[in-house]
Amino acid sequence: MIEIQNITKTYGKKANAFTALDDVSFTVPSGASVAIVGKSGSGKSTLMHIMSGLDKPSSGSIVVDNQDISQLKSKALDRFRAEKIGFIFQAFFVQANETCMQNVSLPLEIARVARGSRKKRIAEALNQVELSEKATTKARNLSGGQKQRLAIARAIVNKPSIIFADEPTGNLDSATGEKVEKLLFEFNKQLGSTLVVVTHDADLAKKCDMQIHIKDGSITRIETAKKNVPAKGGAK
């Protein structure tokens, strides 16, 4: 469960101060899929960074599985991300000169997983995104869709409890984008990982259990799919 409580994020100081997030609160139940929807510059990425422990809020708290991560020291926060969070970015950020295996190996190395058990987990993750044949191929030789699948393999290899995806299909054509979406939802269901997708794609947002609409740093609306447990909190 992720509980966002009165998050405010301000950039700059005094006259130049800019409030990117203004008193945002909501709760995401464990295993749910959430879309953060809004126009460019509305504060989606900022929110995602704060929820994932990449950035700190100016005020407010983020409680993930009963732990307030806004209070964590940098070392504990790094560890939190290494063990609990998977990231997928619009621009993939795969290492072009590394092989697929080496790319997927990175989170395991960061989490200090023993060498012996890595190989199996890497192969498993690559298999799940259907990139087994490309295991020893350099990432630079992959297509855009394959790169994003590789990024997904990297995000899931350490079995994170939350996967954050910032515009995961933004750089892909609709056909490949759909395949990536399918994979994301598959892991959300299979692994039970909470999925947080930042998007301005309405179709993608609709497939999620929960949609959080933000505008100019404030939540305007929270939609919950009928079948799911409704989340507490919401817009003010």
Binding site: D78, R79, F80, A82, F87, F93, I110
Partner: protein, 458 residues
Amino acid sequence: MRMLDIITRAGRSLKNAKARTLLTSLAIAVGAFTLTITLAAGNGIREYTDRLIANNFDPAESIVGRDKEVENTGAPDTSPKEYDSSVANVSFGGGGGSMQVKQVTDKDIKELKSLSYVESVRPNYEIAARYITRTGQKKYTLSLQAYNPGQKPETEAGSAPTTDVVKGTVLLPKEYVKLLKFDSAKDAIGKTVKVTIERPFTEETLKEFVAQSMMGQAPTTQPTQETKTISLKVAAVTKKGAAALSPAGLPLLLNAKDAKSMYDYTTKGTNQYGKYLYASVRIKGGENDTTAAAAKKKLKKLDYYVMTSQELQQTIGQFVDVLQILVGVFGVITVIASVFGIINTMYISVLERTREIGLMKALGMRGRSVAWLFRLEAAWIGMIGGVLGALGAFVLGVSLNPWITKTLSLGKGNDLLIFDLAQIVGLIVILTVVAIVAGWLPARKAAKLDPIEALRTE
């Protein structure tokens, strides 16, 4: 991240920038090359001088004198001193002027010989000889010395005695075999050579000569120098060994008693009579450092100045050290220059890999690990450079050694460049550490990178 994984990743990113890595490494390699050669030359020179000392000095023997110059390892002190009737003028070759040295007397020699910890005493006889010849042959110049068993001269014929030359015999240097028209070195053994020594002007003849000159008269009597010819049987023919120290060629080597009587003859009537610059004193068990030092302490109480053979060895060692440091400085300067190359390369590497660093940090990699990733990349550069440079120096050194030995006539089996694996490994380790230090600031920059900034795409 575990160190092993960091090392692997650092090596991998180097492989991805091969040309840059190699070029930066080459700068280090030049320094490594110079330093490896310097170390090898230092080893070679040290080994060579050690052999020189072993072949020319008795390790149990100390030089004992009355003048503090005996212990002076630097430039001689030529400043004016209070006059002392027991001092003698010693002049140096090359127009270096003269200095006064307090000498050792026969009385001192007697005293030294009586000491319980002294095994033997050899006064330094400086014998002024005129020429050497043999019946029917020309005259040739020579130098004479008392035999020093510590010197162990190599022989062409006959053998070098272990204690002293038999009285009335001589060890003849090989050069004279041809000059004095012996058939061979072997032929010379047992044959007689004649050595002529001279006595200085006596005071009376000099006075008379001076008095006549001053009165404007042509001197009636030209002062003549008394000379004496001594017949000596050749006991052995010596040759200059590969590790012989005397650059001027070997002297004729005499029995101590013969040397003394010749010295006395050549100094009679001068203030040098019965006086010596120094004496070589063999200490009982003096091969041992502490025994030699203890004996020195006791001798100093008797107002002697002492240079033990260990100290002499140290002095020569220091000279080699200074030489090595001078050359080493060039190597160090090269290394310092290449450090800037590494810093530059590492900054570029950090800049190029902003995204990668951002991603790694976003995924929870500690700043410390990121820093080590770059430090180790620098370490790889340092190590590769070190290995390349050392290897180059080794290959070049080993192939040039025979030529150097020949050119400098060091003698067979004496290599100028001696490579020591432990030294080379140590050097590579040091260069690796230097490279890590060079990569410190760029690595810190990488560690402090903000992942959100680094991953921003718009």
